[in-house]
Symmetry: C2
Subunit: 117 residues, 2 copies
DNA sequence: ACGGAAAATAACCAAACAGTTATACAACAC
DNA sequence: GTGTTGTATAACTGTTTGGTTATTTTCCGT
């Protein structure tokens, strides 16, 4: 298993939670402190800290420092890795149809004979 | 919470497992029966059936019928939904930089004064 | 040095997950 | 109908997850 796959596990798992996705949306608009991030949610501060830890382990965010605050910011690289997997799938999928199209085209031009014949 | 968010939860959660991602890669190349899908893995058939159920609930695959076989095929629509979220994030993120660039540009042309001054 | 604010950590709990084995079901072959 | 193949379901188990409250740590202000 490639090393990146481990990160992929964590990245997709991190994205599977609506609270965490909302946090990412917020961070896409700029850095924010834990309490700022926690404010919109009906949830304790430690719960948010846990979500942030999940996001950080997945490489989706990073932590800064500003006095007592630990502002988080989005790390878009991890998003790219996730996207790459989706693109890989889509590419494989489309390649298959391209191959099928090629076969059909071949059949048409050679007069509906079997490929090996 | 929008209705699509529920699917997003399930879709990303489904993608978070390496066995399931491998199954999707396999299915991207064409339909396959359960036993075909199970073959590469050191895992029981019921375990694979469970993974397939997770993938199906997420809308990532669908089930056909061919005698005793229940061939699965990839459903790329769900991939699009997942991709849309990533794109949304990226768009928000880039919009912010665009806004920042605009501010910097404004500062440059007006002679480095504060925006409100 | 002390008090307070921001955040992290610990300890705990219920629910969900990912696997197992054993069993049941469905559809074909004879 | 009987046996066989392919798949699903049931029941169980250890681990992980997502939340809680209580406590601790870190840093600032005075």
């Amino acid at each position: 298993m490639p090393a990146a796959a481990l990160k992929l596990d964590e990245t997709f798992a991190a994205l599977a939670d609506p609270t965490r996705r909302a946090i990412l949306r917020r961070l896409a608009q700029g850095e924010a402190s834990v309490s700022e991030l926690a404010a919109p949610f009906d949830m304790s501060q430690p719960a948010i800290s846990k979500h942030l830890k999940v996001l950080e382990r997945a490489g989706l965010i990073s932590t800064g420092q500003d006095a007592q605050r630990r502002p988080r910011k989005l790390e878009p690289e991890a998003l790219v890795i996730a996207n790459d997997f989706l693109i890989e799938l889509r590419t494989l999928f489309e390649a298959r149809y391209a191959a099928l199209d090629a076969v059909l085209e071949e059949l048409k031009t050679t007069g509906a004979k079997a490929p090996g014949a």
